[in-house]
Symmetry: D2
């Protein structure tokens, strides 16, 4: 009964089956039929023509997106708690060849137009200062909050006005959309997003995320950079198959709903302990070390997050029984 | 009946089964039990204590190895036809932050002490010239030739004398060892190799190569660089499982033997056409465009390599029947 | 009567004379007699054996120093207001190949052990987080404050305990030493500094700063990086001559004293307006736009720094008369 | 009587005087009047509107030019003997963030359309191969040969047809123009050159080369990169003054003529020893070690270049007497 992270969850059955079915010989790299079908599938999902590519990890997806939007001598505005700042070992700096991350504030890892404006307010023009070229937000955020289409659009408008490229780290985009019930288009390109890291691994996939270019002109050089970074899998059809399987019949959305529902049930059981509202599949709870120990003694696995605070992450694979058991345990604390 | 490349072959059945078996929840990244077992498995195989890590592609494996051996202001001696020079879109330059590849000559993409010595003869000492820091060879070579332990050792001795790190690109190391019948140790660290890219994808794997550090001191920063490059898979146990499966009962060696045997049978059928001796699983054959067309008309797929020259690559999965059919077709040309 | 910046001041007469005297043909790059004499001169000045090199700008000096102390996948702790963060267009990121600057707090751009400890407190170990490798301070700071030997030593001790390289940006080190009356050794290596950017351009030089390696093992690769960055002047003797001239008879110290004295006189005249204590040669003064205009109307040139705040910088070349005139003008505001 | 290299020659008197005259306080960086006048001066010289900037060294000039023309994932075609390949410690790789130099052949370090075409003939399209983005030639070449306007134009046409940016390393452009008697425009932009490194240091300057952008759109980011590389001198007016002085009354051309004439006289004295025709100010002569010793015994300084080969470089400052003496000594060998 592990609630450490959705990124350690099993691969969902449909994806495993797809790997087996994909095993016929086909063209190498991304010239196979499944890889070539991806652009159409994502264009349909997003209701506009997009360019897409599979990529092994969210870190690589984010770093490639940022390299497409920001030159080596530029900066990228992101939240102080952003995954790209804290959890990627400098991948954005590596892929952009040394761009700077300009850190902005906001409760629950959520940026606002004001906080972004404040972050760049001190940057003078001229060659002495690194100039901002891009804005990156995470949806759902690192603390499980969800930007609405309206909130994204406000940031998108700001970005366009300041000539900033706009990237969305959607490692848990599925959870955000499941929460909002909105269309993928409304939450992304219609709100001004240029490039999207669309996560599948945390949601039941094995080793494939999608990078979606609403600005299709950025795709070509990104494919070059993907190869240059050693991310062009020779048997790429296995990556494509994971993504295409999860797109079929909205498996991605169903999985995310399951995860969100589990989180919501747990939130209800621990409503007085919530550090942030639970909108996606992450819970940050106030819990003393003794309380954390008590939960662990009952077989629940999770991370301590901060002094007096634990993190629980639900996933599509958590059984109703496991969730009910944890909910009960939380109530009894 | 495709002989385009071993890198487009199916995944072998044992590996697919392993993916399914690996699907229980475990720790993320490389903290799972399977990943942690890799060092022991490779240490046993190589008869010495090594550090190892899984990595998605051969390009990434090579580039990480080179970054471990060469600073940004250094150069790496390799063959003019080396994969790292021609087929990786500058990945070595990306990962090393701008090191230079110093190209050496040699028939069949094979380096000798003389050709390496000649490549670095013109390099003056001092800060104006990029100084060589590493030597990289491919075994089996890009033209399907195999370095013997003695040949590798001669290069290893030269490298040590000149203070060059020594990398082996073993995308087809299994084929080389199957050909030689030698121990993996004799062909690598006993011959002076510091870091080895050990290929599994071309030999039946799906998405995992191994990077083997005989100089274990280089592993720690390489793990940092792997993360920084977005190559630390969150569900890394699926990468480890592929490798561990192929190590079990020498599956890697049996697969390579199958591929080599197929190539040998084809070589026998086209002995007058061989551009290079066939030692591993690649054949380069003289064939006129008409002859190539005739083969394709019979359903065989392969690449034109040069004017009047075609390339055939065999793999573990080619059936005896397919190989026999192609052999017959070659004989009838 | 310009008080914009010491970096626009004239070159002092002794330096100009030295350029003329240096004009005999000599060896190229840094093989000339003057360049070769630098190590001895600085070793004498610092009372320990150092390695040194001339370099055209403070930005290049700092960036080379940081590249010597921090790998691409590391971070450098510095003040939020540090020159390396705000005024060098990402030179540290360029030269280190993508290291991160980790920003710490402190009044007047001055770091303390506590503020540095706080900056790195959130960094978890492991490959997901960029690990700190270096600490960089500016003395005198960007706001004209001076670290004492004791303060530097406290930071040096912390750096050593945490295994951080320790860099000092001494663009105005001369002013700091003139203020403290201490020995250069006490303020640098005896307090734990590993590499020092020693500024001469702001203090009467034309185009040469010195990079001082108290850890002499770092000099060799830094000389390679200097060449690689296009900073190895072919007529390097003219760079060396500037530095050697300023070392002769403590010209560097006398010039700095002149500048500090001027600043002190201005500070006395505007004691109620001081935003920071005046310890070196920079003054930050509260002044309304109208007051600033009034000063400008009298022919004084300077920058607005913040709303209601101006900056005045004195230099060795300001005449007593100019300083007296500005002091009088400040008093009359 | 040193003939080692023009890059160790004295600074010419006019330039030294200019430094003294420039010493009034002015704006910092490149906002001073002299720096701002450079674009006009070069636009007049080149008979078209250009953007220009001063830069400390030829290595930095070349590297900035190449970074403007080639992305990190591209390659630059140059001669195997090019300065950018052999003498800049990887500066092009550093500034471009890892672009590859693609080496072409040609007698006397001179490229032809055929040799360039051959160098890129093997590059397949697609993401696996680094694609060529730029062509770089050196005029006069590293062996003292001069490309004519017609030869440059042929390469320029080829470059345009293949969509390659075209860079000229003009460290000795003055010598080339002095030899040809052509207009600077004919040898550069009218022949298709996009960016020119225009050398002054080897021709009497101290520490300033000019980078000339015939494609003016490339200047802005190059100025950012110059700062980021630590090459934006705070007292930039001293750099600008050197260049402007050498442009006045064609001092640059007169100096080059003096150097060329000296080389021509020496060539006449050693006509049977010439390895290459002498077109600029460099001589490569067959000379046995004993002959070299004999010259050195008479006080002449120069470099051995290859077994049985020496290099002599003349400069504007060589006196008629010195040249006559060396000519006589050569005749007497």
């Amino acid at each position: 009964m592990q609630f450490f992270s959705d990124n350690a969850a099993p691969v969902c059955a449909e994806v495993l089956s797809a790997l087996v079915e994909t095993n016929a010989t086909d063209a190498a790299y991304d010239a196979d039929a499944v890889s070539r079908a991806m652009d159409d599938a994502f264009s349909a999902l997003f209701e506009t023509e997009v360019a897409s590519m599979w990529i092994s990890t969210g870190t690589a997806a984010n770093a490639l997106a940022l390299a497409a939007l920001c030159p080596p001598y530029g900066s990228i505005v992101c939240h102080r708690a952003a995954h790209i700042q804290n959890d990627e070992c400098g991948a954005p700096e590596f892929y952009t060849h040394g761009a700077k991350l300009l850190l902005a504030e906001g409760a629950g890892a959520k940026l606002t137009v004001d906080s972004v404006a404040q972050a760049i307010a001190d940057v003078n023009t001229g060659v002495h200062w690194v100039q901002p070229y891009a804005l990156s937000i995470t949806n759902a955020t690192e603390y499980g909050l969800v930007y609405t289409p309206r909130e994204v659009a406000a940031l998108g408008e700001f970005a366009r006005a300041r000539n900033l490229g706009f990237h969305m780290d959607g490692a848990r985009l599925a959870n955000a959309i499941a929460h909002l019930g909105c269309s993928p288009a409304d939450l992304t390109w219609r709100a001004g997003v240029d490039v999207l890291s669309f996560g599948f691994v945390k949601n039941g996939g094995m080793s494939a995320e999608a990078l979606i270019f609403f600005r299709r002109d950025l795709a070509e050089t990104s494919k070059i950079r993907r190869k240059r970074a050693g991310h062009l899998m020779s048997k790429g059809r296995f990556s494509a198959a994971q993504i295409m399987t999860m797109l079929r019949d909205d498996l991605w959305l169903r999985n995310a709903r399951t995860a969100n529902d589990a989180a919501a049930r747990l939130a209800q059981a621990a409503v007085d302990r919530l550090v942030y509202p639970v909108e996606a599949n992450e819970l940050f709870l106030k819990a003393s070390p003794e309380e954390a120990d008590a939960l662990r003694a009952q077989g629940f696995g999770f991370y301590d997050w901060a002094p007096g605070e634990i993190r629980l992450v639900t996933s599509y694979h958590h059984s109703e029984a496991d969730v009910a058991a944890l909910a009960a345990a939380l109530r009894q604390l």
